[in-house]
Structure formats: structure tokens, C-alpha cells
Amino acid sequence: MEKESDLNKKILLVEDNLDDVALTLRALKKNKILNEVIVANDGVEALEYLFGTGKYEGRDLKDIPSVILLDLKLPRIDGLEVLKRIRADERIKMVPVVILTSSKEEHDLVAGYTLGCNSYIRKPIDFDQFLEAVKQLGMYWLLINEPPPLKIR
């Protein structure tokens, strides 16, 4: 699989729980998805990365992640707000966003899809199922799915 996947395609993982970060990274590695993963631990950091501000001042903004794995419950700025700002920005509004959360509350689902997420996955507790889910979403978004053309200023 790694032969076909374009290793330049980056994944932005927005997740505040360090255990979940470690498990997600492990699941990606286990599934031989070796693309670079940028980890943002809250909404603010995610936005800084996406818009090249703060910690990511001067980052090349043409380098847009191929998929964003977005948790909903985040400190400071929450996932739904991050999604809203992504969709509101001309440059990155087409980036595929996969909500990866432990919530399956109806209003979260409705809000996620209303704000334009591309997929909504509820993190399974069982690690084998989690592994399977990460494998599926990696395969789908990094291999099968044709990404939107990058918008260059």
C-alpha cells in the first residue's frame, strides 16, 4: 500500500488526548500508512498550523494536508469551530475533514455534517476495531479518494 501512497500527502491529526494520539499513530504505523502526521493538541494549534500563524509562523501554506482527522472535544477552540473556520477559508475549504470522536450524540453528528465534514467516525474502544477503522480511513482518504486540486494563491 505504501508503494502507491504519495508520501508527500500529510495527515493533520487534531487530538488532545495523548493516549489517543499515540494509539492513532500506532494504528497508522501498524497499517503501514507512513505519511507524515502533524499532531495538533487543540483547536488553536490546528488553526495555527492551517493558517501559518503562531507556532507555525511562516509555514508554506501551499502544503495543505490531504486529510484532517478532527476530534470534537478539544480545549480552547473545539472541533466544530475548527471545522467551521476551515470551511470558511477559500484556500482550504475543500480539504477532506474526518471527524474522529468518541461522541455519537445526534446533535454532534448533525452539526458535523451541517458544517461540511466528509466523514464521521466514532472511535471504537476495542483496539482491534480501532486499528481496522484507521486502516479503512487511511486507505480511503489517502489512496482511493481523489483529493481536491490544491488552490494556490
Binding site: R26, S102, I125, D126, F130
Partner: protein, 471 residues
């Protein structure tokens, strides 16, 4: 006017009426008695005067000392009668006084007569005879006067009797008038109580039915109005209380939801890192070490099931219901086929009554049937063959749906525990599960304002009934 005032008027009228009747009757009775006494007296006077008269005649003929004595006795009797007579009216007194003075005259004239006869032997015969005649006539005249007076007395008592009768008539008329007033007031009271009371009753039923916005509207200025105001206030309080309770329940549900939700994240860590540990360092562990780690994973899996059960349970309460006609027979049929496809080796006969339909939330009723039929399937799994029936029958005048199986059944002594979350009747090894299914069924049925209950016998099977109230 206030009901209390009306009632007071009624009571006052009744008391006045009773007093009046009592007074008049006793007064009239007294008058009547007096009149009768007088009549008796008049009779006695008449009788005695007659006797005096006949004594007078006897005396004028025989001039005996014995007769004089009798005369004195009779006269004394008469005097005594008059003396002892005690009558009210002045007219009667006047008559009695007359009789008294006439009696005095009678006495002195009779003494003269007696004195005259004593001088008879010595005096002139003719003068004596003349004198005696004159005295006898005078005495007769005087007795006649007394007789007349006695008649007058009798007449007077008749007049009194008439007055008493008259007042009795008046009191009857009065009673009729007062009774009419009392009855009218009573009708007024009845109207001002009965109508508003039935309105209140109706209101209580509407409010009891769940419409807490209903207000009882009674236009009056009496106690009923106060009652209806208090009633409306109570309804307001009830509404307030209910909404407080509802929001408290909602808060609890939200808490249960987010608590169980938040438990998932650390649990994922436990499971994930145990797995990672097993994978990366499992080689360095002996059999026991690996067994411990897989027990950690099994335990976290179990906990994950419990958390999911809690989330499902609280979702039932939180979910908005969408009521529509639900084809229960079709739903049960679909569930049965799915189970059959899943475990084709099992010999299970499904008997599903056709055409059962009810109003309710289709997703929730689907969960009810899935749980009940799924349980029947599960708890017959240790029997070689099984029969599962889904049908309806009338219980206490209501349609009850039932799922019957001939599986492991249960001890009726524990029937009340069946529907409690995480309560189980069998070990995990016998029949897997976390014990949330029937709790979910119960919540769903309660949200449909129905009832759910079960009957069973160990190894003979179980039957689960439920009713729905959106019929």
C-alpha cells in the same frame, strides 16, 4: 353573595320559623287551656247557681234549718270557685267582680229571708208573706244575674278560643312563606355549588390527564371562586414542579451520558496499550503474563459493553419520539429471518400473528422487538428445538402484545429484577449479555405510556407482555 352568607340566611330563617311556631303554639295552647278552664268554671257556676235556686225554692216551701245550712255550703262553694278563679283579661275580671258582688247581695238577701221566716210566728202573716215573696223574687233575680254573668264568661272564653285558632292559621301561612324562602335560598346555594364543582371536577380530570396549562374558569364571587383560584394556583405550582423535575431528570441523564461517554477514552487507552504491550513485548512474557494481559483486554471490552448499554439506555430517554403507524408483524418477521440467517443450524419455529400494528416510534419499537425476540432466541439456545411466538391478546380490556418462548425461563421470585439495568438471571457462561436489553424495553414501553411484565418458569419458558398507549 357568598355561600356562607346564604347558608347563614337559611339557618336564620329556619331558626326564626321554629321559634315563631313554638311561641305561637304554646301561647295558643295556653289560651285554649285557659278558655277551657273558664268554660268549666262557668259550667260549675251555672250548676251551683241552679242548686242554690232549687234550695231557695225548697226553703220557701219548707223553711227548714237543714236547707239553710245547705245553702250556706253551696254559697261558700260558689265563693270559693270565684275566689280561686284566676283569669287574665280585664273583661273577665270585671265579670268575676260582678259575680262576687252579686254573691254578696245574694248572701245578705238570703239572710234577710231567713230572718224574715224566723219572725213569721210572731208577726203579721200577710206582711211576712209579702216580704218573703219580695225576697225570693229578688234572690231569683240575683241568681239570674249570676247565670247571665256565667254565660258571659263562657262567651268570653269562646272568643279566646277563636283568637287561638286564628293565630294558628296565621302561623301556618307564615310557615309556608318562610319555608318557600328557605327552599329558594337552598336552590340558590345548590346552583352556586354544583355547577362550579362539576367544572372543577372536569378541570381536575384534564389536568390529571397531563395538560398542566388548563385553567379552571369560574365566574363567581364566593368561596367556589376562591377554591378555583387556589386550584389554578396549585396547577401552576404543579407545572413548575414538573418542569423542575423534568429538568433535574434531564440533567441526570445528561450526566450519565457524558460520564459514560468520557469513560470511553481512558478505556480505549487501557485496551489499546495492553494490545500494544502484548504485540511488542509479548515475547518476553510467559503464558501467565500473557493471560493477565488478555484478561485486562477482556475486562475493558466488558466495560465498553456496559458503557454502551448505559449510553443506549440514556439515549432512549433523550431521544425525540416520532409517532407513526408501525407494522409490528412485519418488523418481527424481519428480526426472525435475520436471526435465522445468523445461526442457520438452529431449529426454531417462529409463530408470528399477522396484521399486528400499533402507533409508536418505529425505531424504538424495533428495539423492543429485537430485544424480546432476541432474548427468546438466546434463551432457547440450549434446547434442541424451540418455538417462539409473537402475538396479541386482550388483558384487562387492553391489547397486550406478547413474545413467548419455551427456553430457559426464569424463577418468578426474581420477576421484578428482570427489568432492572445490569441485573442478570444467568451467568455469562450460560447466556452472554450485560443485562441491559429489558431495561431498554421497559424505558421504551414507558415512553409509550404502556406497561411491560413477564411470566416464566425455570426450563419451561418465558412470556413477555407489553401494552402501548398510542392506540
Amino acid at each position: 353573595m357568598r355561600i356562607k352568607t346564604l347558608l347563614l340566611i337559611n339557618v336564620a330563617f329556619s331558626i326564626i320559623m321554629l321559634l315563631l311556631i313554638g311561641l305561637v303554639i304554646s301561647w295558643a295552647g295556653q289560651k285554649e287551656n285557659e278558655a277551657r278552664e273558664e268554660e268549666k268554671l262557668a259550667d260549675s257556676i251555672l250548676m251551683t247557681v241552679n242548686e242554690l235556686r232549687s234550695l231557695l225554692f225548697d226553703y220557701s216551701r219548707y223553711h227548714e234549718e237543714r236547707i239553710v245550712e245547705q245553702w250556706s255550703i253551696k254559697l261558700e262553694e260558689l265563693k270559693k270557685l270565684i275566689d280561686e278563679a284566676d283569669f287574665g283579661t280585664s273583661r273577665q275580671k270585671e265579670i268575676l267582680d260582678n259575680i262576687q258582688s252579686e254573691l254578696d247581695g245574694l248572701e245578705s238577701s238570703f239572710s234577710e229571708l231567713v230572718a224574715n221566716s224566723e219572725i213569721q210566728t210572731s208577726g203579721d202573716m200577710t206582711t211576712y208573706q209579702q216580704q218573703e215573696d219580695r225576697l225570693v223574687s229578688l234572690l231569683l233575680l240575683k241568681t239570674q244575674m249570676i247565670v247571665l254573668d256565667a254565660f258571659k264568661l263562657s262567651e268570653e272564653s269562646n272568643v279566646i278560643l277563636n283568637i287561638a285558632a286564628q293565630s294558628n292559621r296565621i302561623i301556618v301561612i307564615f310557615s309556608v312563606i318562610l319555608t318557600t324562602i328557605t327552599i329558594s335560598v337552598s336552590i340558590l346555594i345548590m346552583r352556586s355549588i354544583v355547577q362550579p364543582l362539576s367544572k372543577l371536577h372536569e378541570g381536575a380530570q384534564i389536568i390529571g390527564g397531563g395538560n398542566l396549562d388548563h385553567l379552571v374558569n369560574i365566574k363567581s364571587y364566593d368561596e367556589i371562586n376562591q377554591l378555583s383560584n387556589a386550584f389554578n394556583q396549585m396547577t401552576g405550582k404543579l407545572k413548575e414542579r414538573t418542569s423542575h423535575l423534568e429538568s433535574a431528570i434531564r440533567e441526570l441523564e445528561d450526566f450519565a451520558y457524558s460520564a459514560s461517554h468520557d469513560l470511553r477514552t481512558p478505556l480505549r487507552g487501557i485496551d489499546g496499550f495492553s494490545q500494544a504491550f502484548l504485540e511488542d513485548y509479548g515475547g518476553n512474557l510467559d503464558e501467565t503474563g500473557r493471560d493477565y494481559l488478555s484478561r485486562v483486554r477482556a475486562a475493558s471490552q466488558k466495560m465498553s459493553d456496559i458503557i454502551d448499554g448505559m449510553l443506549n439506555l440514556s439515549n432512549i430517554t433523550r431521544k425525540e419520539m416520532q409517532i407513526q403507524e408501525v407494522d409490528l408483524s412485519g418488523m418481527a418477521q424481519a428480526i426472525a429471518s435475520k436471526l435465522g440467517i445468523h445461526q442457520p443450524q438452529r431449529k426454531v419455529e417462529f409463530v408470528i400473528a399477522q396484521g399486528m400494528a400499533a402507533k409508536g416510534d418505529p425505531q424504538m419499537l424495533g428495539m423492543v422487538l429485537e430485544n424480546l425476540i432476541g432474548n427468546a432466541w438466546k434463551f432457547t439456545s440450549r434446547h434442541y428445538s424451540a418455538r417462539i411466538e409473537f402475538g396479541e391478546k386482550i388483558v384487562d380490556g387492553k391489547t397486550a402484545y406478547f413474545v413467548r418462548d419455551d427456553g430457559a425461563g426464569f424463577d418468578m421470585a426474581y420477576a421484578d429484577k428482570l427489568f432492572k439495568p445490569f441485573e442478570r438471571q444467568h451467568t455469562e457462561a450460560e447466556f452472554p449479555g450485560i443485562g441491559i436489553g429489558l431495561a431498554i424495553v421497559k424505558r421504551i414501553i414507558h415512553r409509550h405510556e404502556g406497561e411491560v411484565w413477564a411470566e416464566g418458569e425455570v426450563e419451561k419458558g418465558a412470556i413477555f407482555y407489553f401494552t402501548l398507549n398510542y392506540l
